[in-house]
């Protein structure tokens, strides 16, 4: 049972878990302080101000505070409600507003990314070299998929060989528009295992970016559409390759639908949601690896906050990487440190995000690896975006790494 605000004993254990506090070292950005502010705002002893909105926004929504909280407080929901209130009171920046507008309807997103692709080609090199979006240089942004990933796939992708079952694949926006390699690898691995993969056409943005930015109303229509699209029937699992999408489907949907007619459906979906690596970990016997070759790839892992705090996917990733043939897995001492990506955090608070990133870069460079894998698209964008030309490691989703290790 998640606890309410009044149960925060202000013990301060969350301060050591919070990546933002770790950098800024000011109480007001700590999870404990945010709860205190929400409480004061609720009981009218504190006015809603632009300053309050600014404090509330200095949060990665990574969930590390809730995971560390001995009193079991649901920081996540409290922060989301407060963000909604703050946006209602003080508005939102044009950039965030347009993101919400795009994510709110799949056709807009498709159109928007199409435009962006043209735009990317048209940015003069000199501009791209010298400008940054948040803490990431423009030139380091990934190019968009040539075509949205889902439009390239059949709705039902058959298993390779004798089918052992079927799963639904919720691709998420990042795989659909940005990182198709992760999508291809996910399908490839599932096929190899003998699964038929269903990719429902009507799925759309999971809504987390909207929920985090207080756009709950816009989010609800997406959530309803997804609940309809993901009707699990008798599939074994609903696979996600992004833990943030996974968290939304598993925890937020049932909570948000608590009062609605869709609650039963949302709960049923939630019970089937599985991180691709947890799924693979449970079915390792179905995979055959290429054991030829004697030049192992060196790889290290960055565990995204939402994977660590919401699923046990990070343990599965690590356990699998350790077992793979031709792989020299090098555990990173700061595997669990946040990279500062945090949805749009890197854009809104580039300086803090930059400091978090700097620590990670130093340690990964010392490790001398070929691959730096991470199973969150924002982490991936952030890690890859902050590499310098002399850095030779590749940043990919671990599922791509795993797929490449399979026997053809």
């Amino acid at each position: 049972m998640k606890q309410g605000l009044q149960n925060c004993g202000k013990c301060g254990l969350c301060l050591s878990a919070c990546p933002v506090y770790g950098i800024l070292k000011e109480e007001q950005v700590s999870p404990r302080a945010k709860l205190q502010l929400i409480k004061s705002h609720d009981n009218k002893s504190l006015e809603s101000t632009q300053g309050l909105k600014e404090i509330v926004s200095r949060c990665l929504m990574c969930g590390s505070c809730a995971a560390a909280c001995p009193a079991g407080i649901d920081h996540y929901s409290k922060f989301m409600e407060m963000r909604k209130q703050m946006v209602a009171d003080h508005g939102e920046s044009p950039a965030i507003k347009s993101m919400i507008y795009l994510l709110g309807r799949e056709y807009r997103l498709k159109f928007g990314t199409g435009l962006a692709k043209t735009g990317q080609k048209m940015i003069p090199d000199a501009l791209a070299r010298s400008f940054k979006l948040g803490n990431i240089p423009i030139k380091n942004f990934p190019t968009l998929n040539p075509k949205p990933f889902r439009t390239q796939q059949e709705v039902i992708v058959p298993a390779a060989g004798d089918p052992v079952g079927s799963v639904i694949y919720f691709t998420g926006c990042a795989t659909n528009y940005l990182y198709e390699d992760a999508g291809k690898a996910t399908i490839g691995v599932l096929q190899h295992m003998g699964y038929q993969v269903i990719i429902p056409e009507k799925q759309c943005c999971c809504s987390v970016p909207m929920l985090f930015h207080g756009a709950q109303d816009q989010a609800m229509s997406n959530i309803r559409a997804n609940i309809e699209a993901l009707d699990p029937g008798d599939v074994e699992a609903i696979i996600v390759d992004c833990s943030t999408c996974g968290e939304a489907l598993e925890n937020e949907y049932p909570k948000l639908m608590e009062q609605g007619d869709d609650h039963a459906a949302a709960t049923q979906i939630a019970s089937k949601v599985t991180h691709i690596f947890s799924f693979v970990n449970d079915h390792m016997d179905l995979l055959t690896f290429d054991t030829a070759g004697d030049n192992p790839s060196t790889v290290t892992y960055h565990a995204p906050c939402h994977t660590r705090n919401n699923s046990q996917g990070h343990l599965a990733v690590e356990s699998i990487l350790k077992q793979l043939p031709n792989t020299d897995y090098r555990p990173s001492p700061d595997r669990d440190q946040c990279c500062g990506g945090g949805g749009t955090f890197f854009y809104e608070h580039p300086q803090v995000a930059g400091e978090m990133m700097a620590q990670k870069l130093t340690s990964v460079r010392n490790m001398e690896v070929d691959y730096w894998v991470t199973d969150c698209p924002v982490c991936r964008l952030n890690l890859a975006g902050n590499l310098e030309p002399q850095d030779t490691m590749q940043v990919v989703h671990p599922i791509t790494f795993l797929y490449n290790a399979l026997k053809a």
Partner: protein, 457 residues
């Protein structure tokens, strides 16, 4: 309200990034982990000893209170600015200046987090013994000001036993330095003892030289459960009485155990009426021998189950659970009061009986956990402050607990400090002359009464 002139002076000293004065910012510096709250007029983050000195000079001149603050994890209200004024935040003065394990010391700024010292020492095979439950968050400045303890202080002693030297800024802005990097130093008054536990009422600590220790070669951790709380407590006095000094010996009653189990799901025995988490460390052979003796003693007292942590991960899980005890209690009720009366270890069984008796008489939920090996009790009352009648009972119960502890030869606080929580009870353990002696010291170094006013002196 602070004058514009003083505010401008503060901005001049630390820059405008280092001064907070908006309502939504100030609200975050009104509290620690205790229940009382009070808003400061301004929060300032110094970056150096010189900044602290200038701030104190300005505050002295204006007669404005200054309250130091580390991470705000104390449980007695020490950093709560009850007379408003300036809160001086030290979380950004967080540099480890020197690690010297050859000479067994570290030099740190006050905002360094206790656990960061441990991390800096680990590669050298050393550690800093005081380990308050808040060690992952709390700062060394706060640890010193509150003279913090922790589980392993049973064997190793509390913060004051590890402070070799300090740099302190007085209310006047004068900077004093005493002690040295020498483990043996009897030059003049032992001023570090005066400042340990002074709770920011005598001066502001800006740098500390701390003694560190080599890590013991072996660590063994036992979890022992008992059928009743009385035997649990008796096992404690038997073990200590027989001359064994474990590194730590934590007692938890059934309620505490269940609260922890609810939060952490470690598979602890929910039915056990009492349990002991015992850790011994030292040379491997000596640990073997001590372990045997401890097992004998707990068996004599009817232990139901004795389990040893098999791996470091398991050990860390047990300790994480123990450290979360304060927080998990917060689940039970909106307000939680944790006290830390301390009694001679032979009186632990009697003290526990008394606490339970008081709880029953006032019909209150009291969980008992304790650093039992040194008699440091942590009775925790879960209550609701908005229920006036209940809260009155809580206050009366605590008064009785303090009185009982003193009757058994104990004292008010083993490690939490006095702060706002216990200042009214000081006469129970100090006569008028002693209290007046403390006031004379305070008057001599802070005649304007600007340093953390409204507290115990």
């Amino acid at each position: 309200m602070l004058s514009t002139q003083l505010k401008n002076q503060l901005i001049e000293i630390v820059g405008d990034q280092g001064v907070l004065d908006q309502p939504e910012q100030l609200a975050c510096y009104a509290y620690d982990a205790f229940i009382e709250e009070a808003l400061p007029d301004v929060v300032v983050f110094p970056k150096s000893t010189a900044d602290v000195s200038q701030i104190l000079k300005a505050a002295s001149k204006a007669g404005v209170p200054v309250t130091g603050r580390g991470a705000g994890t104390s449980v007695c209200g020490a950093p709560v600015p009850v007379r408003q004024g300036i809160v001086m935040g030290f979380s950004k003065m967080d540099k480890i200046i020197e690690v010297n394990t050859r000479d067994r010391y570290v030099v740190v700024q006050p905002g360094v987090v206790n656990a960061d010292i441990q991390r800096a020492l680990a590669p050298f095979g050393f550690f800093y013994p005081p380990d308050p439950g808040s060690m992952n968050t709390s700062t060394i400045g706060g640890n010193i000001a509150l003279n913090a303890g922790g589980p392993r202080c049973l064997k190793y002693g509390v913060t004051v036993d590890y402070v070799l030297g300090l740099e302190v800024v007085l209310a006047s802005g004068e900077i004093i330095r005493f002690g040295s990097k020498n483990v043996k130093d009897v030059t003049g008054y032992k001023l570090s003892s005066l400042f340990c536990g002074s709770e920011g009422t005598l001066g502001i600590i800006t740098e500390a030289i701390l003694k560190v220790m080599p890590k013991p070669e072996a660590v063994r951790t036992l979890m022992v459960t008992f059928g009743d709380l009385d035997s649990t407590a008796k096992a404690v006095t038997d073990i200590i009485g027989s001359g064994i000094i474990p590194a730590a010996m934590e007692l938890m009653d059934q309620m505490t155990l269940n609260a922890i189990e609810d939060a952490a799901g470690l598979g602890l025995d929910r039915k056990a009426a009492g349990s002991l988490l015992i850790e011994i460390d030292g040379v491997a052979e000596a640990c073997d021998k001590q372990l045997k003796q401890i097992v004998e003693k707990v068996n004599e007292n009817g232990a139901i189950k004795i389990e040893e942590a098999a791996t470091d991960i398991e050990r860390e899980r047990l300790w994480t659970a123990r450290r979360s005890a304060y927080g998990v209690f917060a689940k039970i009720a909106p307000d939680i009061l944790s006290e830390d009366v301390t009694v001679p270890v032979s009186q632990v069984p009697e003290m526990i009986r008394t606490i339970n008796d008081i709880g029953e008489r006032y019909d209150l939920t009291i969980g008992v956990l304790a650093h039992a090996g040194d008699g440091n009790m942590h009775p925790m009352i879960a209550a609701d402050r908005s229920d006036k009648a209940q809260w009155e009972k809580v206050e009366r119960a605590f008064t009785e607990i303090f009185q009982a502890a003193v009757r058994l030869g104990g004292t008010l606080s083993g490690e939490h400090g006095i702060g706002l929580a216990k200042s009214a009870f000081i006469p129970l353990v100090m006569n008028r002359e002693t209290v007046s002696f403390m006031k004379k010291i305070k008057q001599a170094v802070d005649p304007g009464q600007i340093l953390n006013p409204g507290k115990f002196v």
